[in-house]
Symmetry: D2
Subunit: 356 residues, 4 copies
Amino acid sequence: MSPGMTPDCYRVVFMYSFKNDYSEGAHPQVLDALSRSNLQQLEGYGLDQHSLDVVARIRELVGDPDASVHLISGGTQTNLIAISSFLRPHEACIAPKTGHIAVHEAGAIEATGHKLLTVETSDGKLTTKHIAPLLKEHHFEHMVKPRLVYISNPTELGTIYSHSELETLYHYCQEHRLLLYLDGARLGSAISVDGSGLDFANIYQNSDGFFIGGTKNGALLGEILVLKNHDMAKEYRYLIKQRGALLAKGRILGIQFAELFRDNLYLQLASHANQTAQHMVKELAQKGCQFHINSPTNQIFPILPTLVIEQLSRSFDFYTWQQLTQDQAVIRLVTSWATPMEQVESFIREYQTAMS
Amino acid sequence: MSPGMTPDCYRVVFMYSFKNDYSEGAHPQVLDALSRSNLQQLEGYGLDQHSLDVVARIRELVGDPDASVHLISGGTQTNLIAISSFLRPHEACIAPKTGHIAVHEAGAIEATGHKLLTVETSDGKLTTKHIAPLLKEHHFEHMVKPRLVYISNPTELGTIYSHSELETLYHYCQEHRLLLYLDGARLGSAISVDGSGLDFANIYQNSDGFFIGGTKNGALLGEILVLKNHDMAKEYRYLIKQRGALLAKGRILGIQFAELFRDNLYLQLASHANQTAQHMVKELAQKGCQFHINSPTNQIFPILPTLVIEQLSRSFDFYTWQQLTQDQAVIRLVTSWATPMEQVESFIREYQTAMS
Amino acid sequence: MSPGMTPDCYRVVFMYSFKNDYSEGAHPQVLDALSRSNLQQLEGYGLDQHSLDVVARIRELVGDPDASVHLISGGTQTNLIAISSFLRPHEACIAPKTGHIAVHEAGAIEATGHKLLTVETSDGKLTTKHIAPLLKEHHFEHMVKPRLVYISNPTELGTIYSHSELETLYHYCQEHRLLLYLDGARLGSAISVDGSGLDFANIYQNSDGFFIGGTKNGALLGEILVLKNHDMAKEYRYLIKQRGALLAKGRILGIQFAELFRDNLYLQLASHANQTAQHMVKELAQKGCQFHINSPTNQIFPILPTLVIEQLSRSFDFYTWQQLTQDQAVIRLVTSWATPMEQVESFIREYQTAMS
Amino acid sequence: MSPGMTPDCYRVVFMYSFKNDYSEGAHPQVLDALSRSNLQQLEGYGLDQHSLDVVARIRELVGDPDASVHLISGGTQTNLIAISSFLRPHEACIAPKTGHIAVHEAGAIEATGHKLLTVETSDGKLTTKHIAPLLKEHHFEHMVKPRLVYISNPTELGTIYSHSELETLYHYCQEHRLLLYLDGARLGSAISVDGSGLDFANIYQNSDGFFIGGTKNGALLGEILVLKNHDMAKEYRYLIKQRGALLAKGRILGIQFAELFRDNLYLQLASHANQTAQHMVKELAQKGCQFHINSPTNQIFPILPTLVIEQLSRSFDFYTWQQLTQDQAVIRLVTSWATPMEQVESFIREYQTAMS
């Protein structure tokens, strides 16, 4: 969520919601898989065959049989385990000011003892230009030592780092003895953007660690943390256990991800999310709508007159992201694997009605 | 798990397992409920109607409309959130040496900054006699300040605190300005023991906080943390979020527990687990078997000749708990809501064969 | 220290230094007191009579016989103990971007688990206008909860909060359930400013805690932490011990502060530091020098041509604070209780020569 | 301090005290050195020439020009910085149950996030026999990973590890991928024991880190942490700063230790402490006194009739360590560099009188 979003907490949702991409349960195939395997007796704590198969499959996808792969329940948990495992006590993490860990994880990283050094960006994307001055400034032991760069791909503003942008950033990190960690809560969406050049293998090659988000792309819960097999990945199950993240019935992660990665389901779902959102972008733009930011993924940010927002709110649920003037505001619309194209069309029609 | 248990990690299970109570998925009704609600759009982060219903239901069961009730994914996570929320930095937690937090949570409590003061017990149960000397010893600021007493009910040895034992302990705690926290990973089993006198309301009255375990009693995952509504329960969702324990799709906890607590399913499942185990106790004892400890719940600890253990191992999976002599060892057998009585009978028959 | 300061670490100082206010040892009276009492056998850990006398004296000065008063070795240590003692795990601390804890304590506060929320200011001073938007933004459990406001008086830029400014800020904090903590590493300097209206009693009344710095004002080491006697001040010696801050020979803090606070020595020393600095301000200004900021205390920030800086550097040691243009920079000059007026005059003369 | 010691906190000491070895200030030479250098302007934060000289001197003494040497104010602080710097989050520290970090540091190590695994010993000394079962027990990721062994030399019971014992222990540690850290709060006393075979160089060779205590052997405050120059010693000044342990006037540590290590003063002082205590042992033993433990250092533990203890208490201050029976108790007597032989003789005479 984001500044300006009013949490509408205790309300039951009666109308169609574009508020986020975690409103539904699991993709039906995933749920079927859970049902089919339900009475199998399996090893606990992620050592069941399903989970082991997922590990093998991800190693295949990233092209490294030694990749360190771990199934964890949620994004904040994954971030706090990963980041704290990379850092010695005095080392800090650089993040864009809009980064999820900086804004919406209730201080989870600092709770592990590490400072975040945040940087203002225009589009949620960190570049070498943002990092260089920080490194210069932090030159001695009275300050923290910047050691890890955190990015999300896509960012919290729906923008993405392309393969070549990621490569440039990682190259810079390696030159400056920085680690690069990528929050992939919506990684499928980034990879599915036309022309991103991204795939699991080159994301792996161009980072020290990243996670593949399941919660927002077809699973009930779960993220896959992937680490290059360096020193910090040793004895990793201890670190996961210590943070309370080693589920006794780890199978529920394994079974779900096995289904999502058996064929290409994971990326198909993400594509659908992107396509529905981008269809909305195209149609709204054609009707004269401006956007707060150009996002090619499943989160989009149209600028609408306040009156139009009010009218649309009667039929759809979404967040107002930022009030620009008395009369205009940015809203955030989020689609997912579960968004029916009819609801998208319906939104576009209502927009047109409201504008006319 | 426990010292002496050899983790048999990477093996797929082909024979019936009495290793633990988290080998299967969810009770079929629970899974059905997940399927039925799967495409509902619901609020995230535990604010969906199912979760809110569970909170209301638990408040009813404990008899306090202001009880602070939270749905969390796993036991270690629940313990670390609860215990760290109760303590100021210099305050410590008293626990039996066999307590789960002391042995099998990979230092999760210490990772939140707090020392555990552990006490040797004969049966996993902490009494006022164990606590008094610790309080006397910790008399000044060069030592930690004991502040919280941790117990599990049932204990890790299958024993239970009855209602009156719990009352005595809590009374002592209150007299000595100690908080009492109860780990209820298998709470249903304790309540279901004949003559325990326990129910949710009197457990609530006789502790400052406790959790009701779902993972080991019919759910895919999930525990319900229940706190009396004192100062420490304020702003609790922040604490849960900060530890990465606020699932985006909190619905998967709400839906499951709504099913388990709609009628009496939760306690019925626990009763089944107890009954299958106690049937085994009765039958094995009749055939001359001795037990390491008298446990009235779903974990039992027969003492068997090594040769018998070997023979039983060909048909059943279980842990060897402790080697007593060259020729004798204690094994642990665990039943669950899912254990078929036929497997129990089959085990008893094999035992008899092996002994003869 | 500050961005732009080049640590000149391994050099022995041969010329007069205006680099900081901790270049010398202790005021001679303080050292005499250490010598006189050297062979007395005294209680350890701050329970010696000298330390107890200091506690009594400070309670008198702040006008509260129940004030919680603690002698601690250094400023960073005092800050980290105090701030972490005030906060529950999810609570955060608001600080100006230039605040010592935010910049120059190597992440000490975050290492205790708490996020700092920093605010850009023009003069190092936090006002209610800076705080209000932060409170509005941090409205729910996905973000940290702002709970403590950190200020330094004087600030790291030499500016001060007057009594009435402090009163306004504290009033606001109380209205918004925020705690106010004041870093007084150079507190004597703030109090000694003409017209500040500050004294120990009104600083105590207008904050929840503050410290009186000794290291930079006549002592070898040591700061006095003063807390209002609320809940958080309970069992405080445990917290000090746990951070390694309870010196076995606590006497060395007690004896020094007893001397500094017997009569008025502490404020006399601070006045001397202010006067030497302000004499420099007056004289340099008369000679046409501009200042980066108007500071009434012992840290001043003249803007000088680069060539003049170079020339002055041959005779005096000081930090270049900020390069403004190719030809101009801000330097920082710091005086102390030990600064001889002759060195000040000598600096002024050299400046005049260099400028002509 | 120790269980059974009643802190006699708020009393001024009027009679001679054998309570501890930190009752006086500094050795006169040390104080003189502080006076002589008092008005020198020196670099801050331990970068003054005196501190640098100490670092060079210690490197010489340990025989490694690359040793990582740091001057820190107190023992608890040194222990918490050192131990936390050695460990990843899931790694634990093995210590004897009587170890200072386990009993009398108010949970300082756990506050950095690490579990202590404590072991019962008869004489405060950890041997490979104590460690082996712990390693065997901690075999998987549900438990912490033992990684560091903590010992004190001398121990809290006055016993020592000889050079060969230390060598055996370190050899075992290296074979088992354990780090060995030695708390040397009274290291001089251990080295000064006849036949110990210990010197600074072989202690350095047979540990991964240790500290040389100043507070209890002639300094006002201060300990010297010495680390072998491996990975964990990198960027160490950041870690010290972050814990609030980098004194602005680091000179007060440098100047004192320069004096203590210029010639042989440090070991001379420790020898005096040992000799006065051992004189007491010899004389008391000759008069029939039994001892709780055989300690060759400056802490001794005679067993005395209660009535004798009462009588001695009228003239001397000391702790009762442990009540053995109604009529008998162990007392602890501690001598130091400052203990006059006359007080020792006087104690022996009073003992004889009381016994007759």
